[in-house]
Amino acid sequence: MNRSTARVLFVILVSVLIGTGAVTAGPEPSEPAVKAAFIYNFAKFVDWPVDSTSGKNADSAIIFGVYGKSAITSELEKTTQGKTVHGRAVVITTPKSASEASKCQVLLFGAIPQSQVVSVLDSLKQNPVLTVSESGSFIDGGGIIQFFMSDGRVRFEVSAQAASRAGLVVSSRLLRLSTPSDKKAGRQ
């Protein structure tokens, strides 16, 4: 096979496409929109125990809860509009208490004090709820997924231990993308 021709023809294309990482096209989506999309997609890489869902029905809706105020809520509503996860409808709620929060499958912590976060996390310890937060040291507090920014890009860290404790099965494909937040750097 004559590879020299291909080499000459595509050398510029290589430098443009790979070197600059021209992945995106069009206007850059906002950080809350990205996070909302991430949260929605997290649900696709997580399996919940069948009997833990509300009404013990595997076909019932997946409840996304936002605990406390967050800019992501409205974006999440937009993102999940008319969509399903594992064939199940998506419902967005805003739980006010720990007991309400325990009915959710995915729970995003908004702008609430750290102490409250810790107490809710404690109450949800034995419940299969995928907890997500934007605040630092969330993993240390017993949370499962924590967003952080790195090089202007939204990244996240997944605590396999916490997920396992909650009885959730997180796909290894998602775990592959988990980045230690303290290092704030790319994987080796």
Binding site: V14, V23, H86, R176
Partner: protein
């Protein structure tokens, strides 16, 4: 070509047949194997690539979902271990390139993008596109480019191996056939060499070593049996020949003895013959001498007789005795002692008759027409007497006075063994009313009895001249009845 094969030695022929069959079988098997191998290798390769594409695509699901280009490239770079993969490219749902891997970081083959779930094969280049799905939604596409060069090289290597194996198989086959064909050819060659020995030396005691119970064994045994039969026949022939030789020797010896005996007998016969000839000569001589003595006695007696009629009787008798004596004289002078020549005899007889009848000399001539006719003594004596009588008769009566004339004597050999004698004269002819039977003269009575003795037939003519023709067998034969032959008379007149 067929002649060449036909002239090959049987072992080479067998070798050729087996080797040709083996080569054909190996070529067919090898071709089927190579084609099948190439197809299956290619199919397995494509299948492996498709699985690889699907797996890599699945692993990239999260990276595409969360737009993690680094992770995607990390996963794609894992393909570096797979040398046949030239590159792998991830596209998002809008078919925009999201991440890529190229084996040399420089070459790109992303211009070749098959439709979703399609596999394109262009020569050695294979391009596979597989969807990346998440929760039943297609979120992107993975395209894998690979080269089948190694696979084809492996297939080519298999062809080479196949060829080497074929050649090795042929060599092994040739070795095995070279050994095994002896099972068939050795008995045949052995039989042929024995046949050659038998044929060239004629040695029928040779025997071929008998083989098994197969056709060759049967052939060998039959050949040996044939040799045995030939030997037995030879021995019988030899014995017969020896016996025959002995018999020939024996017979030859007998024949030789016979020849010796015959030679001896012949010699004694010759001696005896000579003795007999001498004796015969002696007898004829003595008979002649005795007849001459009689003639001389008659002559002496006649000289005392004065009566001319009595003298004539004596003279006739002397003539008769002389004609007989002349025969015996000619007989003992002849070679065979048994036959005289009529011509010579008649010459001598004429001389004598014409000399004794001196009165007629000059006016009567004798004309002779004589063949060389040979007569035995038993025929010659009556014949001579008859000529004497007839000539004397003609001289006495045919030319009375001084009448001149001629007497003709003709003797011819007719119809093989018959003799025709004619004595004629041109004298005065027979007297009228001459009756031969009635004649009382001794001469004519003698003639008649002599004709009977000769077993002959006579014709008399006597009008102007007298002619007597007698036809008689040259050799005296005995009449079966013993009856005397009749005498024909043409003219009844007597003399």
């Amino acid at each position: 070509m067929m002649t060449f094969v036909a002239n090959l030695a049987i072992r080479h022929k067998l070798m050729l047949i087996v080797m040709v069959s083996t080569i054909v079988a190996l070529i067919v098997a090898g071709t089927v194997f190579v084609v099948t191998d190439r197809v299956s290798i290619q199919r397995a390769f494509i299948q492996k690539l498709e699985i690889l594409t699907a797996v890599v695509g699945y692993n990239c699901t999260a990276a595409v979902t969360f737009s993690d280009k680094t992770d995607a490239e990390h996963i794609l770079n894992g393909l570096r271990k797979e040398h046949s993969v030239l590159g792998a490219y991830l596209y998002d749902s809008t078919m925009t390139l999201f991440a890529g891997y190229c084996w040399d970081k420089q070459t790109r083959h992303d211009e070749l993008i098959p439709a979703i779930n399609q596999t394109i094969i262009q020569g050695e280049l294979v391009a596979i596109a597989r969807p990346i799905s998440l929760d039943s939604n297609r979120i992107g596409t993975i395209v894998l480019h690979a080269t089948a060069a190694d696979v084809f090289a492996r297939a080519d290597r298999n062809i080479l191996i196949m060829l080497l194996v074929t050649v090795a198989s042929l060599l092994v086959s040739a070795l095995i056939v070279g050994r095994l064909q002896r099972i068939v050819t050795d008995p045949v060659i052995h039989l042929a060499s024995v046949a050659e020995t038998v044929s060239s030396r004629g040695d029928y005691s040779q025997r071929a070593a008998a083989g098994g119970r197969d056709e060759l064994g049967f052939l060998t045994r039959s050949f040996n049996d044939m040799l045995t039969q030939i030997q037995i026949r030879d021995a019988q022939l030899q014995k017969l020949t020896e016996t025959l030789e002995e018999r020939v020797h024996e017979r030859t010896r007998q024949l030789e003895l016979e020849v010796v005996e015959r030679t001896r007998a012949e010699a004694s016969l010759k001696v005896s013959l000579v003795e007999k000839e001498v004796l015969l000569k002696e007898i004829h001589h003595r008979v002649k001498n005795n007849l001459q003595i009689i003639d001389s006695l008659l002559n002496l007696q006649a000289s005392k007789i004065t009566d001319p009629q009595l003298g004539a009787v004596f003279s006739d008798s002397q003539g008769r005795v002389k004609s007989m004596a002349l025969i015996h004289e000619m007989l003992y002078k002849s070679d065979g002692l048994s036959e005289i020549n009529v011509r010579e005899y008649v010459d001598s007889l004429c001389k004598f008759i014409m000399g004794s009848g001196s009165r007629s000399t000059g006016r009567i001539t004798v004309v002779k027409q004589l063949d060389d006719v040979f007569l035995g003594v038993d025929v010659a004596v009556p014949c001579g007497l008859m000529i004497n009588e007839l000539m004397t008769n003609s001289l006495k009566y045919a030319f009375p006075g001084h009448r001149a004339g001629e007497i003709s004597i003709v003797c011819r050999s007719v119809d093989g063994d018959m003799v025709r004698l004619t004595v004629a004269d041109n004298g005065i002819g027979l007297p009228p009313h001459f009756d031969l039977k009635g004649t009382s003269t001794l001469g004519m009575q003698l003639v008649q009895s002599l004709i009977l003795q000769l077993d002959g037939e006579a014709v008399f003519e006597g009008s102007n001249c007298v002619s007597v023709t007698i036809t008689f067998p040259r050799v005296r034969r005995k009449s079966p009845t013993g009856e005397p032959q009749p005498v024909a008379y043409v003219n009844g007149a007597g003399q």
